[in-house]
């Protein structure tokens, strides 16, 4: 593992949602630092704020208070166009519920972040082939998401997250709904990515992924607790 400069720096992040009269505090003074190339894993019970923290790191959500700096950019003050470009080029996101675009085929789902980034046609074709081979779904390239099983959809989501070769990969329960065989395949991919020097942040309960981590955090009622350094 090669770690160096800071990839993610979060200080005193707070996130509060207003639901009618009720104020729900999802994150409370969460601070963390992830170096480039580091593999960070966090766990915690449902509703502890894991997904919210991942969303804030990925520029999908904004903290109510606090500061989040990713690859030197302070995301809290940036406009939506900047964040869109940041998510497209810097972040690969694997959602808990896969979130594939139902009107696009498997190959198209993997290709569209690259088409978005205006990559060349040849490059996109080769990359789609390479990524589908990596997740073992070449034979499903022209199928629609609803024609795939949950495990297959998760693998497509992984391939899509890697499409633009982003320096940061965020994964929310990547093995949560999968069978053992598919989970192992996902873990194998994560190991390869770690070897390639990607910065990875994963929210999971899977002990096997926990074993791979350089930094392990625990979230409880919105508060971060470091398990080891």
């Amino acid at each position: 593992m090669k770690t160096g400069k800071t990839a993610i720096l979060a200080s005193l992040l707070c996130k509060t949602y207003q639901m009618g009269d009720l104020k729900v505090e999802v994150l409370t003074d969460a601070s963390l630092e992830v170096k480039k190339g580091e593999f960070m894993v966090m766990n915690g019970p449902s509703g502890s704020g894991k997904t919210t923290l991942l969303n804030i790191i990925g520029g999908i959500d904004r903290p109510t208070t606090g500061k989040i700096v990713v690859f030197g950019d302070d995301l809290s003050g940036k406009d939506e166009d900047f964040l869109a470009s940041f998510r497209c080029h810097k972040v690969g996101f694997v959602f808990q519920s896969y979130n594939l675009v139902s009107t696009l085929t498997v190959a198209e789902n993997v290709a569209f972040p690259m088409e978005w980034a205006r990559k060349r046609g040849n490059h996109i074709e080769n990359r789609v082939e390479e990524l589908l081979e990596l997740v073992g779904l070449q034979h499903r390239a022209d199928h629609f998401p609803f024609q795939l099983s949950g495990g297959e959809q998760q693998r497509v989501a992984f391939a899509r997250a890697l499409a633009n070769n982003p320096p940061l990969l965020l994964a929310d329960e990547p093995t949560g709904n999968l069978d053992t065989k598919t989970s192992l395949k996902i873990i194998e991919i994560l190991q390869d990515l770690k070897r390639d020097g990607k910065t990875i942040v994963v929210a999971t309960h899977d002990e096997r992924i926990f074993e791979l981590a350089d930094q392990k955090l625990h979230l409880e009622y919105g508060k971060l607790v470091t398990i080891n350094e």
Partner: protein
Amino acid sequence: MSETFFPINDLLRRKLQTSLVLISLASCVASTLFLLLFSEKIGFGISLTVEGRLTYGFSIVFSRFIIFGGLLIFVVGSVVVSFMIFVMMSQRVRDIGLMKAAGCPNDLIFGYFMTELLIITFVGCFLGMALGILADFASTSFLINLGIQISQKPINFLLVLLVFVLFFILAVIVGAKPVLDTTRVEPARAISPIYYFGLSRESRFRVVSKSGLTFRLAMRSLFRRKSATIRIVVCLTAVFILVTVAVAGGIIAEQTTRSWVEKAVGRDIILIAHRQMCTEYNLLLSKFCETREDSQLNYTDKRYSIPEDVLNRLVSISGVKDVSARLVLKAQVKEVRNYTFNPETGATIPVGDDRKGESLIVGVEPGKLLSKWFLEGKVLSEGQGFEAMVGDSLAQKIFSVPLMQSMRLFDNDFAVIGVCLDPINNGNVTYVPLKALQSITGIQKSNVVMVEIDPSVNRAEILNQIRANISSVNPEFEVCELNEILDKNVGFLGYIWSVVKFLPLFCLSSASLCLIGYVMLAIAEQRQEFGVLRALGAKPKTVVTIISEQSFIVLLSSYAVGVALGIIITLLILVPKPLVTSYNVLEIAGWLLIAFAAIFVFSLYPATRFAKKPILEIMT
């Protein structure tokens, strides 16, 4: 949960969707009812306005537009209502499948969703009915306050009830179909996305550009909602037919009818006659645009006769292009019965009923007519004796098949060879050769002279010369320009057509609402996907681009078909022998493009609002 509570709870649970369907349904019923009530008033207004004015032929052109417009308005309303209800019930297909899979009996499921359908349809139609009446009342008051002449007759409650019942039945039938269809299929099929997505397998993957990608997403979503897309296209097509008929038809018909009047009266023609005869001739022409009482003028009074000297002097003035003497009088004309032979049965069939009526009789020199009528049949020609050309109103009033019949005038029969549109005396006119009229009446002199001045010469100078010559013969004689009354008649036509063109404005707003409803449904269906796209790097404007592409495709398809059909209907059915100038084409294209752009821009409102929402709000 009781059978009554489930539908109510289900409707309340889907607050956004229920409100959307209710608003759309109510607004469509309201706008349709409003349009029918309002166009009835406009139509009524026109018929009131034209009572005792225009001619039969002109009235026919207007009433065709009003009837066709009313019919289209109803079609548009029906299509919109069926579209909204179909979309609402189609979105319950998956729930029905899940309930079936959980063991719920078919009749219970059908009962649940039919109750839901009945509740929403009744509430929507009722609200629409109330809103429609209110809108009609408000706009009538508004127009009256603006000083626009419009009928204030009470609301036609029979029409209101008819619209309510028809729309209610239509909505229930259309909405029941997807429920019934789904209760019949196996649960596994009903809950499968393939059943309601309609997508199976795509052809081989091809890389596209960024703009190609948004187009691909837009097209796939349109096809995924194939049924709803077809319905919205049909709905907007009907709207565009109505708009085209009203706008293009209105412009073409105005141009055409204006040319009929101008050619019949003659542009830049001057009239020379005795002072009282001039006034009478103006009165006869102004009957087209104003309600006027008949005068008791004795046309055959010798004082009105044009001396031969006047004609000779007029001909000798250089710059006078043509001089046409006319003998104008009023007389009783009688339809002469004719017989036709049926080659199949060998029977002789009588044509005509020996009807009679008073008509303005104009004796003209066939070689110097100066007027070019829009007519059916032939125009009077030189060398022919007892032939007549009748005005459209007279033809309608006392003839069965005028071109097969003759008319009796001063105990002489004249063969009817043409039916012309002429504004004089509201089309109650008969043109016969001057010599024939003189021979049967014994009046040897004309009482009116029409003069055409060469357009290349100084008109004012020539007019002064004519005035000087005429007054030297008889100071009672006057030179009268017909352009003023001609402009009045043409202006009146313009006023009526502007009322007809006013109709599609309301229909356009109803179409905009409908498209906004479709766009909102499209957003609701693609909400999760848009969230994902945004989360993976799409900018807010990309979401607007995808939605606007969908809206544009739907609108363009409807526009192409609607405008083409509208033009065909206008040119082939509504306006006989249309007159279209290149300026008209530009004007029509301009208005239709404005209508297209307005609906398109309005339809993007939900998209622009949606794009501003935070990603997480979209995805949850």
